[in-house]
């Protein structure tokens, strides 16, 4: 599952993510990171579920990090989409499929790389603002 983690000004310099990985032993993947002197934000993929996931989230929270669940990364504007396929094969993880007359994005596989957003000739795809849900 994907989450947005937010570091406040006070803890932005602490190596919390690596500490959490070492502590929980879960191989967390960083998809996006935006660090400014006043705040840090990352989109991470935590490849576990259930209790193990809860343990990871708790490990962040107890260190003062705000954790938000991230909704689907890519939004399809179906009025604009012409069902061509320009976004399908450029997707490096195979997350996008055009089956029959329907375009589907498997969010679990999406790494937010935006290849599809750029590839769409009619601008039907947008990346959602992280952690908006």
């Amino acid at each position: 599952m994907k989450f947005k983690i937010i570091y406040s000004h006070e803890i932005v310099e602490s190596p919390i993510l690596s500490t959490v990985i070492l502590e929980t032993g879960v191989p967390i993947n960083i998809l996006e990171a935006k660090i400014t002197p006043s705040q840090g934000e990352m989109i991470i993929d935590v490849p576990v579920s259930g209790e193990e996931l809860a343990r990871v989230l708790e490990a962040f929270r107890k260190r003062g990090i705000e954790v938000r669940e991230v909704g689907p990364a890519i939004e399809i504007n179906r009025d604009k989409c012409i069902l061509c396929g320009a976004c399908v094969s450029p997707c490096p993880t195979g997350a996008i499929k055009l089956t029959g007359d329907e375009l589907k994005i498997e969010d679990k596989l999406c790494i937010r790389c935006r290849a599809c957003v750029y590839a769409c000739p009619v601008k039907a795809l947008t990346i959602t603002s992280e952690g908006s849900s």
Partner: protein, 507 residues
């Protein structure tokens, strides 16, 4: 052999008579392919009067003739812009031609001619700006106003090249992402992009141009249009035929005319074209029944920036449409930049028009040429090539050499790039003076540790123009020149190119 276009099975008049009576048998090309597979060509040809086709893809050679009407006082525009996109004004005072690929002078390729055409068809207000060439009869110097499709006198879509019979597919052998008119191509054969609707393709269904000609009535952009001739680059012998078409923009729909931006490439217009194929003889029936499995194209390597790109392999539209293509024993994902869903919708819509008696077939006034050639453009002026400016005396080193030896070479010869070669002189890597500085700082000794192995190279025959772009693209200041066997034959640097340009301006 009977004449091309012979009406031996049925005539246009007979078909139109049946349409009028509501008795015409019409199938989309998809249906006709299936029907023929099931019942055989004889029966299908005997029963079916018309086969409808469709395609919906990026068609760059498209545009619209506009007549704005005269203002008070009038203006003879010599330049004009629609939503900041320049239109061609080498025509009468208030006539203009807006091309699909023209780009906005303020927004670049985010917005262009294709988008203006879509906005016009959608009924949106468009800003018109024009500069006059004042005369006694046209005193005005400048105009700024808005127009809509309803307000202007004419808006006629005239597309010089549409509806390619089939199209070459694209892949990419290089190490970097390529952005082409066929879309994004991932490195190392990461994907295949293609265009065209295969067994629905209008011109492939009348492969020998027996029914499509000047005056053929067609579905164009959601309205009715006409074929006005063969398209530019029409190449029927190689089955890359094309069409020139026209239609009244005022009748069209934004669903079938869509402005588009191909990332890092440019602006274009997606055009919906559908053509009815009257089954006038057995040959036409046969081509109309050709399935995707028997329609072939080639996958080209767009990693080679040349007019003649290497063929990676031959492929059928059936394989392309399956979404997976085999390249060098590996399964590669394929997808289209044209829309098959819309192509089907267009063929179906055209079929419904005919069934309802709203659309009649027209016999072409003249068939299209079936033997024209597609010629290349020769560059007749002298163009400097890499071999003309490269430095031939090569100072090279071996991978086993130590850093100090190479540092001495660089100082002694006053150079910045040292190619690393094997015993036969074949390129293995490159070391620059910067790499050496870094090696000293990091206390590395052997070239093996510090050399760049993926070397950007030039070929002796390449034009300087192309090589200069490559240097900028990779932000490098020089590259080895290698022959067919990857042997280093010279080196070319930004200095060499600068010298060339200096020589040009003084001569």
């Amino acid at each position: 052999m009977e004449e091309r276009g012979a009406e031996t099975l049925r005539t246009y008049e007979q078909i139109n008579e049946k349409i009028k009576r509501g008795e015409a048998v019409v199938m989309t090309a998809d249906e006709f392919v299936e029907y023929t597979k099931q019942y055989g060509l004889e029966k299908a040809a005997k029963e079916v009067d018309v086969v409808t086709t469709g395609t919906f893809g990026a068609m760059c050679s498209s545009g619209v003739f506009l007549n704005f009407g005269h203002s008070e006082p009038p203006i003879k525009m010599w330049k004009c812009w629609l939503n900041d996109v320049p239109a061609y004004k080498g025509l009468a005072a208030v006539d203009a031609y807006l091309g699909a690929t023209a780009i906005s002078e303020t927004r670049g390729i985010e917005y262009g001619g294709g988008h203006v055409i879509e906005d016009l068809v959608s009924g949106k207000e468009i800003e018109l700006r024009g500069e006059g060439w004042p005369t006694d009869c046209y005193p005005r110097q400048y105009i700024e106003t808005t127009i809509t499709l309803d307000e202007i006198n004419q808006a006629v879509l005239v597309n010089p090249r549409n509806a390619y019979q089939r199209y070459a597919a694209a892949t990419n052998s290089t190490d970097r992402i390529l952005y082409t008119y066929l879309g994004t191509l991932l490195p190392r054969y990461g994907n295949v992009m293609y265009s065209g609707s295969g067994q629905l393709s209008p011109l492939y269904k009348d492969r020998y141009f027996e029914t499509i000609g000047i005056g053929t009535r067609i579905f164009l952009g959601g309205g009715i249009g006409y074929v006005i001739g063969e398209g530019t680059q029409h190449n029927p012998k190689a089955f890359f035929g094309t069409l020139m078409v026209r239609g009244d923009l005022k009748q069209m729909s934004p669903r079938y005319l869509r402005g588009a931006t191909i990332h890092n490439y440019g602006v274009t217009l997606y055009v919906g074209v559908g053509i009815p194929i009257p089954i006038i003889n057995m040959r036409v029936a046969e081509t109309a029944s050709t399935p995707d499995e028997e329609i072939y194209t080639e996958i080209l390597d767009y990693g080679v920036p040349s007019r003649s790109r290497p063929v990676v392999r031959r492929v059928s539209y059936a394989e392309l449409k399956s979404g997976k293509v085999e390249i060098e024993g590996r399964e590669v994902v394929a997808s289209a930049i044209s829309s098959l869903t819309y192509a089907r919708e267009i063929a179906e819509k055209l079929k419904q028009w005919i069934l309802k008696g709203e659309f009649f077939l027209s016999r072409p006034a003249q068939l299209l040429p079936d033997k024209t050639e597609f010629k290349p453009l020769e560059v007749k002026r002298y163009e400097p090539r890499v071999r003309d400016v490269m430095t031939r005396s090569i100072i090279s080193a071996r991978p086993a050499d130590d850093v100090k030896t190479v540092a001495n070479l660089i100082v002694k010869h006053g150079i910045d790039h040292v190619p690393i070669v094997d015993d036969e002189g074949k390129l293995m890597g490159i070391v620059t003076s910067w790499d050496l500085a870094k090696a000293v700082a990091e206390e590395k000794r052997s070239l093996n540790e510090i050399m760049t192995r993926r070397v950007i190279v030039a070929k002796p025959d390449e034009p300087i123009d192309v090589v200069a772009r490559r240097l900028t693209q990779y932000r490098i200041s020089g590259m080895p020149v290698v022959d067919e066997s990857f042997k280093v034959v010279g080196i070319i640097t930004t200095d060499d190119i600068a010298k060339l340009i200096k020589g040009r301006s003084s001569g």
